[in-house]
Every structure is written in structure tokens, then in C-alpha cells.
Subunit: 188 residues, 2 copies
């Protein structure tokens, strides 16, 4: 049986290639990622060659309830709108205490206390997002999740507000590494 | 950054090697797996060479609540007890309808309707188990989950009963492939 790539796999390659020009890389919590000029976002695997590569796989939602999923589906938009010339790549890692929690405890912190879904809904459809999981790959990855956001320049302030609201939550007390990579699309 | 293997990764290699002698491989739902003489269970990656390889990663529990986890932790035992000379390797795949459900809907089917945890608890500590996730690896795997069970010969009938109870549940209506591999340890 030959290995067939998972079609939900994405690679985020920091280096000199790709259509996203990096404007800044800031460590928000913990160790930074080395500076690079560009990010190449590839739906698939890439050979490791200089720079850095983050890997993740999109998957089923882990916390949303049916009413939340219905509301999200009605409002959310896909990445890559022509107007979405600005993007943020935000990899995070959660600590051991988070992963020792049970599903009901994680859900209570994620939504009942931190209103993660409700907060995100307020910024739809301005801010599009795609979540990638990295904790259960066959390789040890430096982060547990990678979220890619894109938005129009006029929505950049709204995006900062969304990020500020999420970072102020109880859920974020469990984040032990977070890097904030900002990018602008070529031609923008 | 070099790729560091995930320490929670396991490979199940069907072929001519390993300390588990296969006694039968039966397809329970859907396509079978080819017959092999032995299964080698490796905590790590293996090169693909003849036979077949199933891969999975152990992870955090997705459904158990705190009271359930506490009860499981008090009763469960690890794989590999000297008396556990018999084993079953049961890979399953769930259908698209399952993965389209939300977390609360999956939990309701998994436990409220199917009593997955409560049923398993009745067979502890006789039957040890370890669950591996395969759906979100970087390769497309033929199954979503692989469960490895081991038990003493005297508990073989209890194991059949456990399996029968689980397969009769509402949850199992979402299983669209299941293969049942039975093994006996060398020297047993």
C-alpha cells in the first residue's frame, strides 16, 4: 500500500517563495519563529529545504454544537476572496494542563467561559479563517494548531479587535506558545 | 527543522515478523485486509516493505467526561500484562454522516445512546485497550481508528461479549469498514 497524501493536509513554508509577503513576525507567547521574507501556502507536503515549515490538517470541529455550526455555516466565507489582501498566520500550542482536561471541561472553557465561537461569529464574514490541527501528526510539531485568517485592508482593525478578545479569554491561559505572522498578498 | 517522530505514533505491520502470530483475519464490515502470518507492533514509523502497514497516533480522549475518565483511570490496565497472551487488532472507519455530526451529536450517540464507556468499564480490568487515531495523519489511511486489545485466554469469551455489545449499538451504524484481526503471542 503506497502512501496517499491526505487531501486535507497543508504546509506553511517560511522562506523566499510564495505569494504572501511577510510584513512582521512577532512572538506573542514563548519562542519566536525565525524571520522570513515570504510564506508559501501549499495544499500538500513539501520537502524541507531551508527556512521553516509548519504542517497541519483540517478536520472535523471538536467543540461546536449543531446550532453553532448552523450559524457559522450561514455566515462564514472561504479564504481567498479577491478583496482579502491581508492575512495572519497564527500557530499556537496549548499546555499539558489543557490536554489533561476532559472533553466537557475543554468545551466549558472554550465556549461557556471564553465564548470562542460567539466571538468569532461577530467578525463574520469580514474575517475568513481556516483551522489546521498539528498535534496528532506522525511528526512532533512545534504547535498544536495553525489558524490562517484573511481579510480586506479595511477590516484590519476589526481583526485586531477579534484577536484581542480571544487573547483575553480563560482559554488563552492554556496557550503556552503563540506566534503572530502577518502577510500581504503580492500585488496588494 | 528536522522532522522529529511523534512519540505517540504506532505502526501495525502485517507480514512475517513480530511476536504476535495471527490466528484469523475476518472482515466484519466492508473490505478485508490481506492475510498475513504475523503482526509487528512498533512504537514508531516503519519503512513500507511488502505486507501491509496501518498507522495511528494515541491522543487525548474525545468524548469522556471527568467522572467517566476518573472511573476509567481507576480500573484500566496497560497493554502487555504477562497473562495477556491473546490480542485483537480492530481497525474501523466511520462514514461521512458520522463526521458531519457536531461534537454534541457524536457524544449523544457515543455514550447517551450507545453507552460506549459504560460498556467498556464492565470489562475492566480483564480487557486492556489502546486507541489510535488515523484520520488526521498526513497520509490518507484506510481506517479512522485502530484499537488494540489484549487479554488472558480465560477472558476470551468476555472479550467476544464486549465486542458483540459494542457492535449492536447505534454508534456502530456509522461504521462502514471494520476488520477483526486476532493474534496469539509467541510462546503462549
Amino acid at each position: 500500500m503506497n502512501a496517499v497524501p491526505n487531501p486535507r493536509r497543508f504546509s506553511f513554508v517560511g522562506g523566499d517563495r510564495g505569494s504572501w509577503r511577510v510584513t512582521r513576525i512577532v512572538p506573542y507567547i514563548g519562542e519566536l519563529l525565525p524571520d522570513v521574507a515570504r510564506i508559501d501556502i501549499v495544499n500538500g507536503a513539501v520537502p524541507a529545504e531551508g527556512g521553516w515549515v509548519l504542517r497541519g490538517v483540517t478536520s472535523n470541529e471538536r467543540y461546536a454544537t449543531r446550532p453553532e455550526k448552523t450559524e457559522l455555516a450561514a455566515k462564514q466565507v472561504g479564504l481567498g476572496r479577491p478583496t482579502a489582501t491581508h492575512a495572519a498566520l497564527i500557530p499556537i500550542r496549548k499546555n499539558a494542563a489543557w490536554w489533561a482536561l476532559t472533553q466537557d471541561e475543554r468545551r466549558a472553557i472554550f465556549e461557556d467561559k471564553s465564548r470562542h465561537v460567539k466571538t468569532g461569529l461577530q467578525y463574520l464574514p469580514a474575517v475568513a479563517r481556516r483551522l489546521h490541527h498539528c498535534r496528532d501528526l506522525e511528526t512532533t510539531e512545534p504547535f498544536d494548531f495553525i489558524t490562517l485568517f484573511d481579510f480586506a485592508e479595511r477590516d484590519a482593525a476589526a481583526f485586531e479587535q477579534l484577536l484581542g478578545e480571544l487573547r483575553a479569554t480563560e482559554e488563552w491561559k492554556y496557550v503556552d506558545r503563540e506566534v503572530d505572522v502577518r502577510m500581504v498578498r503580492d500585488g496588494a
